[in-house]
Symmetry: none
Subunit: 202 residues, 4 copies
């Protein structure tokens, strides 16, 4: 009477099925969009019974979240877990944001991350996980870089890095998410300049 129905045995889980489900979920979201992606469709495409999905995940959002995390974990393996620090804060931030722009425009990432972001807006549980697993680690890198810059005297000492980073990160995020404007390298360069030196004349 140890094992409950609701907690399946992880050690006997089929790795093969999990991979197939990740692949199918990502492919379907990319091909037909999130709303038309169904659990039934994922199961069929993965060659898997529906129950195998419901056994390990609670919803299609949950499946996609894990699938996307898996995808980014693979990609993240190659990158260093820190922002570059050449001593030139503006240049470093611009470089990183340019890379982010490129990633946001990569159709391979666009469909699933947009879908997850949308789901997260409306579904608090998914939203929290999305932020905790994907967004926050990225933002923390900016915090670290800004803290270093502050120590080097390139940032005012009373500035809170966690808020400061939003000055250039959030505008990009909003333009992408809500399509309030185009995103480009020039745009993010401008954001960095504005943020570092302010709008008011010196």
């Amino acid at each position: 009477m140890a094992t409950r129905k609701s907690t399946p045995d992880t050690s006997r889980r089929s790795e093969r099925s999990r991979r197939a489900i990740y692949d199918a979920a990502l492919a379907l979201v990319a091909e037909v969009g999130y709303p038309k992606t169904t659990v039934e469709g994922i199961a069929a495409r993965a060659g898997v019974g529906k129950q195998t999905i419901y056994r390990w995940w609670s919803s299609k959002a949950d499946v996609l979240l894990e699938a996307f995390l898996d995808l980014t974990d693979q990609a993240a393996g190659q990158e260093p877990p820190a922002l570059p620090d050449t001593g030139d804060l503006a240049a470093d931030l611009k470089a990183v944001l340019r890379a982010t722009v490129d990633e946001l425009l990569d159709p391979r990432f666009e469909a699933p991350s947009r879908a997850l972001a949308a789901e997260g807006v409306v579904n608090e549980e998914v939203g929290r996980q999305f932020v905790a697993a994907l967004l926050e680690p990225q933002l923390q890198l900016y915090v670290d870089r800004l803290r270093a810059a502050r120590s080097a005297g390139q940032v005012r000492p009373e500035v809170d890095p966690r808020i400061a980073l939003e000055l250039f990160v959030s505008p990009l995020a909003q333009r992408w998410l809500q399509r309030t404007g185009p995103i480009s390298h020039a745009y993010t360069d401008t954001l960095v300049d504005y943020a570092l030196y302010g709008l008011a004349p010196r």
Copy 2:
């Protein structure tokens, strides 16, 4: 073939039904959330035939968008269509953002606007309408105010107001939408200060 199927006679439209549908849609989104809000449910609650909804709107997102626009139009009627201009840019921005914070925290607005924002992230058509009808007019007020400030020499002449406003608006939007952090008056005050005077020491 006089009357086409796709263009019902607007003059005969029942105002009564439209109001009932708006109310039902907003109430349901607030009560059970957007995903569990269905066209059938709206019709039943409004005491209306389903066809009456499909005759005038194309989807539940469309219904909710109009319902929400109607709601905000009522509220907006009382406000002036411009930001205050006391001559003190920082103070004016802080005041407006404080009001925005209050509105974002108002549960009456939260459910539907969050729902629409989420739908817009994933559904380009809805997204464009949402931005055009709700977001862009608001942002334009900031553009106007910043332009006035620039003329008054309180903002550097080379600054693009459409980008500049994102430095304090987008961080607030992202914290609210994606729950990346708490929002408060102190927070938006800080955003305005950082944005106007920059992160780098003077």
Copy 3:
């Protein structure tokens, strides 16, 4: 608030769908057997939504029962609602039972009636309906004929016709239902002879 969800409006029912469902149900039972006949299969074959079946019937047994009743009603229209009465009771009974044997061996009737009988054995509700709608009316004809014969002095006056008829009807029914033996014209002739004149020597 007159009409309840559970009582759909009969007057708006689609005759077309009903016929298609009857046909599909009977065809499927004949082709693949009762256990492999599914509501989903009936709906697909009839070109009908599943809900249209569940709206009007409670189970596949219920569908099949009505479909079969409809089938027999069509056939029954041609027959007279009484057994022949030539004055020769034995001959009349033999003739009717021979016809019954032929019907029981007709594959068009076999599959659905066997299915219904089986369901009725285990499902009291279906069983009662099956008996009331199909069996009992038939048996009543024997009761009438036996009563007439009793009046004519061909049957002992103290004999209960409702029990008497079972002496030749039930053996045939059991051989067919439970496959306890072959059925043929010779067999039913013998049953009539045994039943009328008894097993004991005269």
Copy 4:
């Protein structure tokens, strides 16, 4: 290829499990009915793996058939394998049929035997086994008793005992199976009288 998959080693079979499976199957059929009795349910109740069932039986009908045979074998051990022969055919038949009536009304036997009969109606394989293992041996006892009576001159010499027995056995069977009428001692007494002495006046 020494050992075939399809022929498990009988000598290593767990007697304990078999008993538990019989008990679980009979209990479930009695409690929830045959259709709601599942292989999975039997396995869970018996504290047995599903494969242990599928290793030794081919279907739930097969399990129940064996379980019921086992049950009746226990009961039959106490009875003599022949009908009483007091010299009075009518009395002997009435006594046996009264006992049968009692058994048919015993809820312990009713659920499983009804379930098996129903399955047998629709599933020829099960039907044949059910008849061969349970019905035919019983009927053979009647054949023997009638043959003895025929030798004693109490039954017409040209009467076929295999058909004759159906005159009183089948009506009882049909009333029970199809609920076409109540069953009682008085009823079976009447059947015997009618069958032995016929319906026609002497």
